[in-house]
């Protein structure tokens, strides 16, 4: 029987829209916001997140809440499987992309009898208060199992006609009245949920847990948390207002923030609201302090207003959409994404893609070989001729560590062009769209 949160991981994009861009979009003054580069999507974020989580969990059941259709989530899982970071026979449950989904997923996982990976992804979101402005993109994973980071104490839920009109990305008509939302949803439903959690746990009303609140609200985070009955943590406030996502990923991010600042033995309530709500109460464990390291941001690449407007399709951009053979993709992508090469058993020559006959000695005695993910740049070029909706593509040739050679695009968020001799690694990114289908391949980025 699983009892709590065992491990966690987070993926934050390298790309940032800065203060000036956000100001131009009508956002209040603040720090930049991390959003995905133009070659990232749910699939690439899931791969990057699961790689950070590590190989120990590849075959655990996976709960996934992400935007878009279930089709897009299925493609994301398939890409992760082809890369080798997700088991082929893994059970995947897809959840709705809403602020309430985090609590639902955690509650369900924590009530189960097997360890589970819970993944929350926000990408492509727009602020409900300002639909032209982005909300942060991120992906968070929790491994539900041994309660090293936090232990489940109690769960509860309420259903109510609170008319909150949550939307995942864009307002289709006039939004909810903030006064009503604050009063009805937060102060009424939210407070009731927390009170019930404490009562079920046998804790006094003055226990005062930290609150991790699902966002997606016109009510500012701090006011929302106070209305529920909590006190917004300093880090959580900063993340919620400035850099976090606005849906399930944002809620997961806030939970990590609260866990990182909470003392061992104290309590954190996770509250997700929408036409009522769900909530669960966690007791902070001994490993919670390690969560802080996950939240530290790595250097970013800043992109400007025009880039944002084009890549988020605020300005329509005609994208090339060549015809693709689905049969060819089905046949070849698994091997290409799996970095499946061959090593000659006669002369040790390494080839990628895989070959049946050695190109060096023509032996047919070929062994399966997986190309390494790191290497050194041999040469490169920034190509202004290849059609690219964003900045010109940099093509890079890499001498792969251990043998073999890779030739492909640099990731679109590398910043300054990669130079000869630099140490690099391969990451999965979207390379283009064809027949309305995203195509994925390895791209080159600098080694950390």
């Amino acid at each position: 029987m699983v009892l709590g949160i065992e491990a966690a991981a987070i993926y934050r994009p390298r790309t940032r829209v800065g203060e000036q861009t956000l100001a131009a979009l009508g956002e209040p003054k603040g720090i930049g916001r991390r959003i995905v580069s133009d070659d990232e999507d749910i699939g690439t974020m899931l791969v990057a997140l699961l790689e950070k989580l590590g190989p120990a969990y590849v075959d655990l059941p996976l709960y996934l809440a992400a935007p878009g259709s279930s089709h897009e989530s299925a493609i994301a899982i398939a890409v992760a499987e082809a890369v080798g970071i997700s088991a082929r026979d893994r059970r995947v449950d897809l959840w709705a992309w809403s602020p309430r989904a985090l609590v639902s997923m955690l509650t369900s996982a924590l009530s189960g009898v097997e360890r589970t990976v819970v993944v929350a992804i926000d990408v492509g979101g727009r602020s409900i208060a300002n639909p032209i402005a982005p909300t942060g993109d991120l992906a968070v994973a929790f491994v539900v199992g041994d309660p090293r980071i936090a232990e489940l104490v109690s769960t509860t839920h309420i259903t109510a006609l609170t008319y909150d009109e949550w939307r995942n990305a864009r307002l289709e008509r006039a939004g909810p009245d903030p006064r009503f939302v604050e009063a009805a949803l937060y102060a009424d439903v939210g407070r009731s949920l927390v009170a019930e959690l404490l009562k079920e746990a046998g804790l006094g009303a003055d226990t005062g847990p930290r609150i991790a609140l699902g966002l997606g609200s016109v009510v500012p985070f701090a006011r929302g948390v106070r209305a529920v009955g909590g006190t917004p943590g300093r880090l959580a406030l900063k993340l919620a207002n400035k850099a976090g996502g606005d849906a399930v990923g944002g809620a997961a991010h806030i939970l990590l923030a609260e866990l990182s600042e909470a003392e061992e033995g104290s309590f954190v309530a996770v509250v997700g609201l929408s036409y009522g709500g769900d909530a669960l109460l966690l007791r902070v464990g001994s490993d919670a302090v390690s969560v802080g390291a996950l939240l530290r941001l790595k250097p970013s690449v800043e992109r400007g207003l025009i880039w944002y407007l084009r890549t988020r399709e605020v300005i329509p951009v005609e994208q090339p959409d060549p015809s693709t053979s689905f049969a060819e993709l089905w046949r070849e992508s698994p091997g290409l994404l799996g970095l499946h090469g061959s090593q000659c058993n006669s002369c040790n020559h390494i080839s990628y893609p895989r070959r049946a006959i050695c190109e060096s000695c023509r032996s047919t005695d070929q062994l399966a070989y997986q190309l390494a993910r790191t290497g050194t740049v041999i040469t490169h070029t920034v190509d202004k001729l290849f059609p690219s909706a964003g900045q010109p593509v940099q093509m890079v040739a890499v001498a792969v560590d251990g043998g073999g050679q890779f030739y492909g695009q640099a990731a679109s968020d590398v910043g300054d062009p990669i130079a000869v001799g630099e140490k690099t690694r391969l990451i999965v990114r979207r390379i283009h769209q064809g027949s309305h289908l995203s195509h994925y391949f390895w791209k080159v980025t600098r080694s950390d």
């Binding site: 090339p320 060549p322 015809s323 693709t324 053979s325 060819e328 993709l329 070849e332 992508s333 290409l336 390494i350 080839s351 990628y352 893609p353 190109e359 060096s360 041999i378 040469t379 490169h380 070029t381 920034v382 190509d383 202004k384 001729l385 290849f386 059609p387 593509v393 093509m395 040739a397 001498a399 043998g403 073999g404 050679q405 890779f406 030739y407 492909g408 695009q409 000869v420 001799g421 390379i431 283009h432 064809g434 195509h439 391949f441």
Partner: protein, 395 residues
């Protein structure tokens, strides 16, 4: 080099080319007919003498509906009831077509062979160009990001890292070849260029700027070949050696660690075998004039090294000292090369042989290399997958 013919030698007895350029008023059939009839007239023969023909066209359905089979040559010429074969070997299609004709003549499967190289590239808008076609119809994964200028820009960058900056040499190639092209009435571009224009041109990819790249072009060229004992007393050019070598894949060429981004094994292998057949042991002293594949200026620089005109890393000096210039040890691309003539892909290899024949038959006019008796033609396809080399001498 002392030249004689022996029975069984394969000789060129007629050679001609259409003008190269943007030829909207001429279709594919018009071009092959013009080149063929001119080459046959040069050989003092008629269509009735041709008992086999080869058509070198690299990318038939990319721009037009024609060139996909020998039919595209047979139909406009009425060459029926005889074998007419299309040959495709990327940018070496023309030279490889000549290679096949040589093989057939040596095997006595025919007596008079007509070889035509042709490509019609300008009938489509830039959106329908070779680059776009490759982007849209190439491998759905491996070819995304790959362009011809980009692939050679990678070579220029690696050359810089290994030997030093090739920029001045690349400029030198552009200046030389456009100067030659200005004197060639058949060239696509017939104006010289300046250092300033070359080095301040819009950049396409890495070090490759607009003046470092050859254009896409319409054009056709043709040669007529036979065996020496059938040739009569007229002018002859002997195909002393010819070879094609395939050494790397197409979409996977840059995934092979056999490729060092400093030169092309296919050129070295094709040259070695052609030289061996032709008795060339010292190319620099034995070859008087050369047409080499200068799709991009850096390509000519590495071609010098791969063809044995100089050592590794010495290609820059070969052009900067004037060795490949009009008064140099081994003038290269006196036609203007692909840079100035243009590059109708399938036609290029045949055009090179036509230009070599003009040199050794002393009809190159202002571009004539004095006392030229031995010429070399080189084409590189893929790019980098394969290459063809031919050595042609006076009889």
């Amino acid at each position: 080099m002392t030249s004689t013919t022996r029975d069984g030698d394969i000789v060129i007895i007629g050679a001609a080319s259409t003008p190269f350029g943007e030829l909207f008023s001429r279709g594919f059939g018009d071009l092959v007919m013009e080149a063929s009839t001119a080459a046959l007239a040069d050989a003092q023969l008629g269509l009735g003498h041709v008992d086999a023909a080869w058509l070198g066209t690299a990318f038939a359905y990319t721009y037009s509906d024609e060139g996909n089979a020998g039919t595209s040559l047979a139909e406009p010429l009425g060459l029926y009831d005889r074998p007419v074969t299309r040959v495709a070997a990327y940018c070496a299609s023309g030279l490889e077509a000549i290679n096949q004709a040589v093989n057939a003549l040596k095997a006595k499967r025919c007596d008079v062979a007509l070889v035509v190289g042709a490509e019609k590239m300008r009938d489509v808008s830039p959106r329908g160009s070779l680059v776009m076609q490759h982007v849209e119809r190439g491998h759905p994964v491996l070819s995304k990001g790959r362009t011809a200028p980009g692939m050679f820009a990678l070579i220029a960058e690696r050359y810089r890292f290994t030997y030093g900056d090739p920029r001045a040499a690349m400029t030198g190639v552009a200046l030389k070849n456009h100067a030659f092209g200005a004197q060639n009435a058949r060239a696509h571009f017939r104006k010289p260029v300046s250092v300033d224009a070359v080095e301040n041109a819009p950049q396409i990819s890495g070090m490759i700027g607009m003046y470092d790249a050859c254009p896409t072009t319409d054009g056709a060229a043709a040669v007529v070949l036979t065996r020496a004992e059938l040739a009569g007393s007229g002018k002859k050019a002997v195909v002393r050696g010819i070879a094609t070598s395939n050494d790397l894949g197409y979409f996977t060429v840059y995934f092979s660690d056999r490729f060092d981004f400093l030169g092309f094994e296919a050129t070295r292998n094709a040259a070695r075998r052609a030289y061996e057949e032709a008795g060339i042991t010292d190319p620099l002293s034995q070859i008087d004039v050369a047409e080499v594949h200068d799709c991009f200026t850096i390509t000519e620089v590495v071609n010098y090294e791969d063809l044995g005109f100089c050592g590794p890393g010495e290609g820059r000096d070969f052009v900067l000292t004037g060795a490949s210039g009009p008064a140099g040890t081994l003038p290269v691309n006196t036609s203007g090369g692909l840079k100035a003539c243009g590059h109708p892909i399938g036609a290029t290899g045949v055009r090179m042989v036509v230009d070599i024949c003009d040199q050794i038959w002393d009809r190159a006019d202002k571009r004539q290399v004095e006392a030229a008796t031995t010429g070399l033609a080189h084409a590189l396809g893929g790019p980098g997958s394969l290459a063809s080399v031919a050595v042609v001498t006076t009889a």
